[in-house]
Amino acid sequence: MKGQEWYQTAEVAEEYEEKRFSGGGRLIDRREKRAVLEAIGPVDGKDVLEIACGTGRFTVMLAERGADIVGLDISAEMLQQGRKKAQAAGVADHLEFMRGDAARLPFPDDHFDAVMAMRFFHLADTPASFLAEMQRVSKDLVFFDTFNRFSTRSIYNWALPMGSRLYSRGEVESLLDSAGLRLAQDDHDFVLPYGFYRQIPGSVARTFRSADTSLLGAPGVERLASVSYWKSKVE
């Protein structure tokens, strides 16, 4: 697993959100949260599992909206950050964090209404086995994102310390098919990659973001998007 060692250190866990989601990164955070809510919301009273939940950005947000949610991650350091956040938000009574292996989940078949994983598949060395396991424990929805092979991300992808796997649409479709999942909805965004937004202040980022969004409206540009969101259903 590519991120296994990288995300285990306390410094990486503590700085994780500050590094990625401040300044221009705030736009990324907002876009990702919207993607999650559009795909699996409304979640009130639903049983949700989040794989690779990290510091609980989505876990806590979904708990605030009434989901009974479990956040699973390999890193104890990231989860302790998540616990603090859940306690501060007052949602600790219907949210649980645990350490676990995404390929061998400690849950029975068909338990959750929705199983999701954000920023996970680019770290996955065996994506087919992870997706099959997500499908096993879900009775309805499976949602995840990928970073795209034919995009601006490929410019800096090789330099990332945690490693990163890029996907084409065809690869995702065949992964879904093998896992017994049917694509229900897909969305594509960020012609300018995440790494670009992280480097610039929030005010400047908004200008680029609006250019980015209107660019995506043009025909043929969608396939240049660096991020794709995939909502699928258990067959």
Binding site: R83, R99, D101, R104
Partner: protein, 64 residues
């Protein structure tokens, strides 16, 4: 972890039921303890309120 999690948690290896042993509890939260598989006998520790459900082969090279 809350005790109600026992309704859904199972052994990651063989998906059998687990038995809970509580070492330390704070109000309704289990802070430390052990979850033991009723089938294969593998033990999963609960540390700082977080159950460690990593299979044994992944636990050694991963610092707690």
């Amino acid at each position: 972890m809350k005790e109600s999690m026992m309704d859904i948690l199972c052994c990651p290896m063989d998906k059998a039921d687990l038995e809970l042993e509580v070492d330390h509890e704070d109000e309704d939260e289990i802070v430390s303890g052990t979850l033991t598989c009723t089938e294969c006998g593998e033990a999963y520790p609960i540390e700082e309120g977080v159950p460690n459900m990593l299979p044994p082969d992944m636990r050694d090279d991963v610092p707690a």
